[in-house]
């Protein structure tokens, strides 16, 4: 039972509602679900957060360890992102090797964090060519109710923003916060007929005819994009969606800035 078949009548109903600008849960097409973040959710991690978008819940934990830099980047630290879609979170997820969807989520989150230069990898260098910090960004989806990419990104950035470099543990000096240079955020849109909706739910993703994820930063750069599912977006639409992505991204950034350091 790896793929859940969406009932045809449900898909038809979602598309019919979309035609008049309505959605199953009563939201408007451009309305995001409520967002909340719980910082310091995993006490054993160097930084962590539980992010919720509607009923979707994602935990992210950051772990920093000294390691060896890559030979081609002797002056930079290492950043690795990994997303797990655990069977607990959805009936469609199975245990075993990573699902292509999990790989996509981790690659898209990794790309946005990397391309925005949110984590200054140069600052993770300890001794050029010899020793550097390796930063593991682990993402666990614990409840899948749609829009995993945005939720995973939100959790990862929220966790990174409250991460402490555990220098004392490795006898490398005093602990210091891992300062983020930028706050990149993903915003995902789905096409439902001629209507484009933001922050799709699980059911809407099942009915979607094309998905576009746009990563923005607070400076005004589009730092990464990902197109998914079968379906197309016109150039004009993409421009409009990029504008909208900044608006939604700014709200998500506000959620990360809010709250206090644990």
């Amino acid at each position: 039972m790896s793929e859940e078949v969406t009932a045809e009548i449900l898909t038809t109903h979602i598309l019919e509602l979309a035609r008049s600008g309505r959605r199953l849960d009563g939201r408007r097409p451009e309305e995001y679900r409520p967002v909340s973040i719980e910082f310091g959710f995993v006490t054993s991690a160097d930084g962590s957060a539980l992010a919720r978008i509607g009923e979707t819940a994602v935990v992210s934990g950051i772990k920093l360890e000294p390691g060896k830099p890559f030979p081609d980047t002797p002056n930079a630290g290492v950043l690795t992102t990994n997303a797990e879609l655990i069977p607990l979170s959805s009936p469609t997820f199975e245990p075993g090797p990573p699902h292509p969807r999990a790989i996509e989520v981790s690659r898209v989150v990794d790309r946005a964090v990397r391309a925005s230069e949110a984590v200054d990898l140069k600052r993770l260098c300890i001794a050029p060519g010899e020793k550097c910090w390796t930063c593991f960004v682990d993402i666990h989806v614990i409840d899948h109710s749609g829009n995993l990419i945005d939720a995973c990104m939100l959790a990862a950035v929220a966790a990174l923003s409250r991460t402490t470099m555990p220098s004392r543990r490795f006898e490398l000096g005093e602990d210091a916060p891992l300062a983020l240079a930028h706050l990149p955020m993903e915003t995902t849109f789905c096409r439902l007929g001629n209507t484009i909706v933001v922050d799709p739910t699980f059911e809407e993703e099942g009915a979607a005819q094309g998905r576009l994820t746009i990563a923005t930063d607070e400076v005004g750069h589009v730092v990464a994009m990902q197109k998914g599912l079968v379906g197309a977006f016109a150039p004009g639409e993409v421009k409009e969606l990029a504008e909208a992505a900044f608006r939604h991204g700014d709200k998500l950034r506000e959620a990360v800035r809010g709250g206090t350091r644990p």
Binding site: V5, T6, A7, I9, H13, R22, G26, R27, P34
Partner: protein, 285 residues
């Protein structure tokens, strides 16, 4: 977390042989998996098992003593099929002589072409039901191998055309049906929608668009507050109050099911103390 909540239950001896109240004692008793249940000569019903003549709960849920058996109504969980249940299935695969249905159970249920009202020749199955179609079927039997036998022959069974589906936890279905089907009738009357409720937590509804939005919200309300008293009144008030307007999440945040048992319930003279927990077994059709 179990112990903290359990200790707050109303006066029941917890040592030695448990002395749970039965339904007539007007207490809602939350039991944990593995907890011994008072059998009083009754047999093990759904949600329980028997070892050496003693009956234990197999799920986290509310204890119900319904002669001839004791049973535990789970608070949550996947649909566990039982014979004679009416369920809504979605076709996930088409074979030469049968379709595979996802009925929300741990396994897929094969619907054989002889179990339909149609006269089908071998290989014609695709012309009748395709992947993604929704059907109302009845569970006939659960074989020893775990195979779930379903049939589409019977009153109210068949392919669903139009309308839409809502999924809820199967544990909440009795709340949605209500005592003797009262809740479902109230919703249908107030919204002008037609509902078909499957015991597996899928609900088909059809009617005016505004009505569908309203039914959805009402179902969410029942899902979140089904464990609290005075549910019927609250749903009625909700349906009478502004209709059709799009709603965001409303009402108080979902309370943990045991919160209602942990605190003294507010007096509610309009309602018998146990009516919310009277699980009607078969109210569909």
């Amino acid at each position: 977390m179990g112990n903290g909540h359990r200790s707050r239950h109303r006066g029941q001896g917890r040592e030695g042989a448990p002395s749970h109240s039965s339904r007539s004692d007007s207490a809602r008793t939350l039991v944990l998996p593995g907890e011994e249940l008072p059998s009083r000569g009754l047999g093990p019903g759904p949600g329980t098992y028997r070892v050496n003549g003693r009956i234990y709960a197999s799920v986290l849920g509310l204890l119900q003593t319904q002669p001839p058996s004791v049973r535990v109504a789970p608070l949550a969980g996947r649909y566990i099929p039982r014979a004679r249940d009416t369920v809504i299935g979605i076709v996930t695969d088409v074979q030469g002589t049968f379709w595979l249905l996802d009925i929300g159970a741990p396994r897929w249920a094969p619907l054989h072409m002889t179990g339909t009202p149609w006269k089908i020749d071998f290989g014609e199955t695709q012309q009748y039901l395709r992947v993604g179609d929704a059907v109302v079927v009845a569970v006939e039997q659960i074989e020893n191998t775990g195979r779930i036998g379903v049939t589409m022959i019977g009153d109210g069974l068949g392919k669903l055309e139009g309308g839409t589906l809502v999924s809820v936890s199967p544990a909440k279905i009795p709340r949605i049906i209500g005592k003797g089907g009262s809740m479902i009738q109230m919703i249908q009357k107030s919204t002008g929608c037609t509902l078909v409720v499957g015991q597996n937590g899928r609900i088909w509804l059809d009617g005016p668009d505004d009505g569908i939005v309203e039914v959805r919200s009402a179902i969410r309300l029942i899902e979140e507050e089904g464990h609290r008293r005075g549910l019927t009144e609250r749903v009625q008030a909700f349906l009478d109050h502004g209709s059709g307007a799009p709603r965001g999440p409303k009402g108080p945040p979902p309370t943990a099911p045991w919160a209602a048992t942990a605190e003294a319930p507010e007096p509610d003279p309009a309602e018998g103390p146990e009516s919310e927990y009277d699980f009607p077994e078969k109210d569909v059709n």
